[in-house]
Point group: none
Chain length 157, copies 2
Amino acid sequence: MLAFCGQDACSLDANGRLKLSPRVIEDFMNADSGRVVMHCLPEGAVALYPEPVYQEIRRQAMSDLSKLGESLLARRTLRRFGALSENCTITRQGRITLPAAFREHAGLKPGAEARIIGVEAGVEIWSRERWDEELAEVNAHWNERGQQEMAGDLTRK
Amino acid sequence: MLAFCGQDACSLDANGRLKLSPRVIEDFMNADSGRVVMHCLPEGAVALYPEPVYQEIRRQAMSDLSKLGESLLARRTLRRFGALSENCTITRQGRITLPAAFREHAGLKPGAEARIIGVEAGVEIWSRERWDEELAEVNAHWNERGQQEMAGDLTRK
DNA sequence: GAAAATAATGGAATAAATTGGAATAAGATG
DNA sequence: CATCTTATTCCAATTTATTCCATTATTTTC
């Protein structure tokens, strides 16, 4: 059974809450009893990962505390993950509340249309407009890559 | 459970006091019973760390005092951390009072809007304006990083 | 050195926002 | 077409934030 796949359309309620679809809820229940980490991506969307997945992501990026006093990069790395991540539990009604700052990061006003995108490790929340653009870019990139591969096959000695 | 994550909006009262959100208070209680070190960052914000975290940040620098006699840099480093760090305890109402000099360092007048930013090791207090700029820079940096990575994926032989 | 004034602190009350739940509407399925 | 599932809206209750006031400490002036 494939987890965290496919796409859903949904909308934020007046308080910025999001109702997840039954299959997404089920995937999060199976993964970690509905415990979720919300994380703002540089691309302008919010990812939802089961907590263990996020811990794994963080394990590599963890910088040691002794550098904090002298390194701006170290401070900004912690800032990026600290400020832009938060955990929550899916409620009994299958809802999550996006913090206002996260909503803004993803360009989602209360009442906005959103896309829930399965990304295998979890799901991502995109505004409808941004998702359309992102999907076009993703496709363009791998098309270009394919073209280069074919060209390389001709010119290779 | 993620500690010291997310962002909060709050404002200084007329006397320059700051009410922390319940989850931040809880994180500090768990970390060191509410004992906190305030420290002015070069970026123009004030960091709050549990005391053990601050000790860890300073541990290396404090381990060799032998340079003090001949190194201006060493003396100024101690000066910076000494003058710009102070400890305090979160009150029963969950408030902390920023010393006037620290408030000024962070560009916070009494009554100003502030942002409490989780940075995993603790939290940082930013003025609303400065945080907006910092966040934009953080996002821009990691976006640029991502773009370079994608470009590299196309030109790779 | 004492008294008054000013500033700082602790606490409580009121107002605002968030959350949980239920009810209704819409859609899908047999 | 009826029933069951899913989505959306609305309301009540709780939590959280802000403001205001009283008390304590500190400083200044006489």
